[in-house]
């Protein structure tokens, strides 16, 4: 009987998880999705805890309290730090899957080797490889995003890199096969940790060559892995709730990764093994091109007289914490009857949807956040495109220059606006190390300086001229 109640609870939880994701289809219903998710999780935890095989409760209570103690502060990080928080939680998810797989293996190998069927061994091996590689890989990603000192920001490459990486994974797989065939051999419990170590090492090596511009894709892939490791755990434990919830997460990560890849015109393989951004250095310093510089007063005047201003935000806006100043500029312009829209490129920022969250935090109505595909047809009618901390996503080289590494990437057509203002901290090229043709176009005027200061000055100028 109790079995039936547990299964029924799991079924209800599964349905609630699906609703939770379904309600994410619009901002108005999305919060309902969170409540559904919380309800599902509480039901799942209580149903599991109430099972007769759970006999010790002290550690469970302690671990749950510790989870709250760490989880609550982690949920209060500034929104600019959300990418690294997300990466960190993927690593926790991977760790949990890896540990449960390890625990179950050792439990069975000593106390009931008959449980270690071939099918289950395959599931355990997949679970621990995915779990542990997600653990270290996501930790590395979080470290890079947080700009931890001893983790290099720039992509790190060395000879035979891909061969070594694939070799490690292949070795782990071979040992995995050997273990699957002889799960209870005397050497098996000794060899099992080797797979763990290989997976941990592979996770680190997989992320080392990846640069900041590729982070949105990589985070999405790691999201998918965390889900798939939960699926594998479901196979190990014969638990359909784990399989469904893990599959939902895996599907979500996969779709996001595909969207991010398309938005950069690259393939999965290319992102993971391409080591973007280091081959370009040699190209700069060729012909000396000249920027045209605009003053704050002049810029404010042009903005004021526009009918439609499109602001293109990028990661630089997040770094400079300029989103609140941008909101003030938005207010000032709207007060004068200027329409202001935001053009959001799918890979702007360091994770999917990063810009939307930052601008929503600054109280900009989400109805004015417009996706790339929708804003591009409007760009020729746009009087001023104001580029705030974006670079590669507005670089026309993606359309024109076949030799450019970003050639073919869909971009926001800022260059088609009548006037372009680009705020830029220094005269150096952007993150990917690529020169931006937009800055040298005859319609473009540069506003050099920290994004927050420049936008702040523009606001001051506009509010001053109101009197």
């Amino acid at each position: 009987m109790s079995h039936a109640i547990v299964q029924l609870s799991y079924l209800v939880a599964t349905a609630l998880f699906i609703f939770a994701l379904h309600w994410m289809n619009a901002p108005v219903t999305a919060r309902k999705g969170v409540y559904a998710g919380v309800a599902a999780m509480v039901i799942a935890i209580l149903a599991t805890w109430a099972q007769p095989e759970v006999v010790h409760h002290g550690w469970i209570v302690l671990a749950i309290i510790a989870g709250f103690a760490v989880g609550i502060p982690l949920s209060m990080v500034p929104l600019t730090a959300v990418p690294q928080r997300t990466a960190l939680s993927h690593s926790f998810g991977g760790l949990a899957a890896g540990l449960v797989g390890t625990a179950k293996y050792y439990l069975w190998v000593y106390e009931g080797p008959e449980h270690l069927t071939t099918f289950r061994m395959i599931a355990i091996i997949i679970e621990i490889i995915l779990g542990y590689l997600t653990f270290t890989g996501s930790l590395m990603a979080a470290g890079k995003l947080q700009e931890v000192k001893w983790i290099p920001q720039r992509p790190v490459t060395y000879p035979l890199q891909n061969l070594i990486n694939i070799g490690l994974l292949a070795l782990a797989a071979v040992i995995g096969v050997a273990l699957t065939l002889n799960p209870a051999a005397t050497w098996a419990p000794m060899l099992f940790p080797v797979v763990i170590v290989l997976a941990l090492a592979f996770g680190v090596l997989l992320i080392i060559p990846i640069g900041g511009a590729d982070m949105p894709t990589v985070i999405a892939i790691l999201n998918s892995y965390a889900g798939l490791s939960a699926v594998a755990m479901g196979f190990v434990l014969d638990n359909k709730l784990l399989i469904t919830a893990g599959a939902l997460d895996g599907a979500s990560g996969l779709i996001l990764a595909i969207i991010m890849c398309k938005a950069m015109n690259r393939s999965f393989v290319n992102v993971l093994f391409g080591a973007f951004g280091q081959a370009q250095q040699a190209k700069t310093g060729g012909d000396e091109k000249v920027y045209k510089v605009e003053t704050i007063e002049g810029g404010a005047q042009v903005l004021e007289q526009a009918n439609l201003v499109v602001i293109v935000p990028g990661y630089g806006m997040a770094v400079a914490q300029a989103q609140h100043k941008v909101r003030e500029l938005y207010d000032q312009l709207r007060k004068r009857g200027v329409s202001v829209k935001f053009a959001i490129h799918p890979v702007a920022g360091r994770m999917p949807g990063h810009m939307n969250v930052l601008l929503a935090e600054a109280n900009i109505p989400y109805t004015d956040l417009v996706e790339m595909d929708e804003i591009n047809p409007e760009m020729p009618q746009c009087d001023v495109a104001l580029v705030v901390g974006a670079n590669d996503v507005v670089n026309p080289a993606a359309r024109n220059d076949k030799t450019s590494p970003i050639y073919g990437m869909p971009i926001i057509d800022a260059d088609k606006a009548r006037t372009v203002f680009a705020i830029k901290r220094s005269k150096n090229p952007g993150f990917a190390g690529i020169d931006n043709e937009l800055y040298f176009s005859d319609r473009t005027w540069m506003l050099f300086g920290d994004a927050k200061n420049v936008v702040g000055e523009l606001v001051k100028q506009l509010s001053g001229s109101a009197h």
């Binding site: 999780m41 550690w59 949920s75 993927h90 449980h115 985070i219 939902l248 996969l254 935090e361």
Partner: protein
């Protein structure tokens, strides 16, 4: 064999759940990709279920320690994942001020 698990039905569940996932996620608003990621984070912490069984079962201490760490990690994801998702979603508004605002 002391137990018989219907592996095929598990595979069916996986395939069907993946299709549901793809269908549902494809319709998620692009505005909400960051919250989507944090809510799926929390949902994939369903690994908590496995962790509770390993932590609370009548098993050797070493096994239960691994379970407890896994439980702590999952719980952290559940708590921080749902809380931060809600915090972000609260910020998505159609129009900020209650002032009458002439918008087309």
């Amino acid at each position: 064999m002391t137990e018989s698990i219907d592996y095929w039905s598990l595979v069916y569940v996986l395939v069907l759940a993946t299709f549901i996932g793809l269908g549902v996620i494809r319709r998620v608003s692009r505005l909400l990709y960051t919250p989507l990621m944090s809510i799926t984070n929390a949902i994939s912490a369903i690994a908590v279920v496995g962790s509770i069984i390993v932590t609370g079962g009548d098993y050797p201490t070493g096994i239960r320690i691994m379970g407890a760490i896994a439980l702590f990690a999952s719980m952290t994801n559940i708590v921080s994942g749902f809380l931060i998702t809600d915090r972000m979603l609260k910020m998505f508004k159609t129009d900020r001020a209650p002032k009458a605002d002439e918008r087309s």
